[in-house]
């Protein structure tokens, strides 16, 4: 068996174990106190894992395409659009994500006196994360677009491709390959950044882990949470690596 596939299988298995434990509500497997404690921690972290994963998934789903739109705006012929976009990117990159989440969460109340509902925590987290990550993705995409040689645009122009065709057929596919390594970086960072959602009291895995750790006066729960992040990111890196290899078909 391929070594990489083997590693992937191990990672998926590790992620699957808690899922099984959780779904069958198994809290006691062995007589061993520490092991049983770990199993019960996993069980109690389960809700948080899903909250983290949903936040992670939705952020990617929104921020990746929004990032592309931001790139277009950043490269716009209209100076005003370019300036506004530059300002947006500089604020998103220049202030703490935690602060941005707090602003998104409390803005409706302070600006429009709309009472805060606890449901809104989730939406605020998704909106805050998406806006922040869109700015980073936009800059990554921009670097990918600018790495396409000018000569390719010229060749496309002489061949009669429209601007739209040139982007869709010539520039975009090359951009995707250029940006995969930095995008992988961002995605991995996002997995860990989801823990910042605690700033608006959105209950995700790390929040729960901290609560358990405090209650038990032990860092074991934090350690278990760390293992989850690590294995999930191993999976992310593996999947992105596969995609990268697939996209490298045309390079020497």
């Amino acid at each position: 068996m391929n070594k990489k596939v083997f590693i992937a299988a191990v990672v998926i298995f590790v992620l699957l174990v808690p899922a099984v434990l959780i779904s069958f509500n198994i809290t006691k497997v062995t007589g061993n106190e520490v092991l049983d404690n770990i199993v019960s921690i996993m069980n109690r972290l389960s809700n948080g894992i899903w909250s983290s994963l949903i936040l992670f998934g939705l952020t990617l789903l929104f921020s990746m395409p929004i990032g592309l739109l931001v790139t277009f705006a950043r490269r716009s012929r209209f100076k005003v659009v370019e300036m506004i976009t530059k300002f947006y990117i500089s604020v998103m990159r220049g202030t703490p994500l935690m602060l941005q989440l707090i602003v998104v969460y409390f803005a409706p109340y302070y600006l429009f006196k709309i009472p805060l509902s606890s449901d809104y925590r989730f939406y605020a987290a998704v909106i805050g994360f998406s806006l922040n990550y869109a700015a980073y993705f936009a800059e990554i995409y921009r670097s990918g677009i600018e790495a396409v040689p000018k000569g390719h645009y010229e060749a496309a122009k002489v061949l009669g491709y429209s601007r739209r065709q040139t982007f869709m057929k010539i520039v975009f596919p090359q951009m995707v390959r250029h940006v995969l390594p930095p995008v992988t970086n961002e995605v991995i960072t996002l997995v860990k950044d989801t823990s910042l959602a605690y700033a608006i009291a959105y209950v995700e895995m790390f929040t729960l882990a901290k609560q358990i750790a405090a209650a038990q006066s032990s860092i074991l729960a934090l350690f278990v949470a760390g293992i989850f992040y690590y294995f999930f990111n191993l999976l992310v890196a593996f999947v992105m690596g596969r995609i990268e290899n697939k996209m490298n078909y045309y390079t020497a």
């Binding site: 002489v158 491709y161 057929k169 045309y250």
Partner: protein, 252 residues
């Protein structure tokens, strides 16, 4: 019939006047070589003719159809729609090929005829294979550009330009990125095209090639045409001192 006519073209980049007052016309079936030291404006002339640059002043016609006219000392271009049609009259082969790296050899050649000219895919493919056979690289049709030698890549680029069925083909120093052995490959292809009465304008540093293949040689220096005529006259018996000095230098 005049395929290309350029009158009194002027082009300035920032403060640098690259083309000062140049007029050329090319008849159907004619092979014209443009010689001259670097910085003399040869490439800029080609880029203006292929609409990669806009002229500051001067007029441009293809097959009697107006692309740009001189109005009050300024070039005024016709509308987008006309330009798009006229763009189909000419093709351009670049010094560094500018093949699309993510497309196979065959796709590089057939994509524009299919998606720009909206021609039948089967027909275009058949034509493309014929071109590849002519270029001696039919066996490379499924390769990606990075897997080919420079000479092979340039032959693909020539096939790509020919697949659009242009009336006139421009070459911007097509052998300058190649070593002597590969250069002769490309010159062989150009000779073959000349024998088929393809109308060509070639910017080149290959003096022997210009002498043997072209019907007319144009010598440019500092933004002007300083001598033109049959290759025997311009290359073997130049009247202009600067032409003589240049030829002496490059021919050792």
């Amino acid at each position: 019939m005049k395929l290309l006519e350029i009158n009194n073209i002027k082009k300035t980049f920032d403060d640098l006047e690259v083309l000062k007052d140049i007029s050329i016309s090319v008849e159907q079936g004619e092979v014209v070589s443009i010689l001259g030291p670097s910085g003399s404006g040869k490439s800029t002339l080609l880029r203006c003719a292929t609409l990669l640059e806009t002229m500051d002043a001067g007029s441009l016609y293809y097959c009697g159809e107006t692309v740009a006219e001189n109005v009050d000392g300024k070039s005024v271009y016709v509308g987008k729609h006309d330009i798009k049609r006229i763009q189909g009259y000419f093709g351009l082969v670049f010094q560094n090929f500018n093949l699309f790296p993510h497309y196979s050899v065959l796709k590089n050649i057939i994509d524009a005829p299919i998606h720009v000219q909206k021609r039948n895919k089967k027909e275009v493919e058949k034509e493309a294979m014929k071109l590849l056979e002519q270029m001696g690289i039919a066996d490379k049709k499924d390769y990606y550009p990075c897997m080919l030698s420079g000479g092979q890549q340039q032959r693909v680029a020539i096939a790509r330009a020919l697949a659009m069925n242009p009336k006139i083909l421009f070459f911007d120093e097509p052998t300058s990125a190649l070593d002597p052995e590969l250069t002769s490959e490309i010159l062989k292809v150009l000779r073959m095209l000349a024998a088929e009465k393809m109308t060509m304008v070639i910017v080149t540093h290959e003096i022997d090639f210009a002498r043997n293949v072209s019907d007319r040689v144009i010598f440019m220096d500092e933004g002007y045409i300083i001598e033109q005529g049959a290759p025997q006259d311009v290359i073997d018996n130049p009247k202009n001192d600067r032409v003589r000095a240049f030829l002496a230098k490059v021919q050792g």
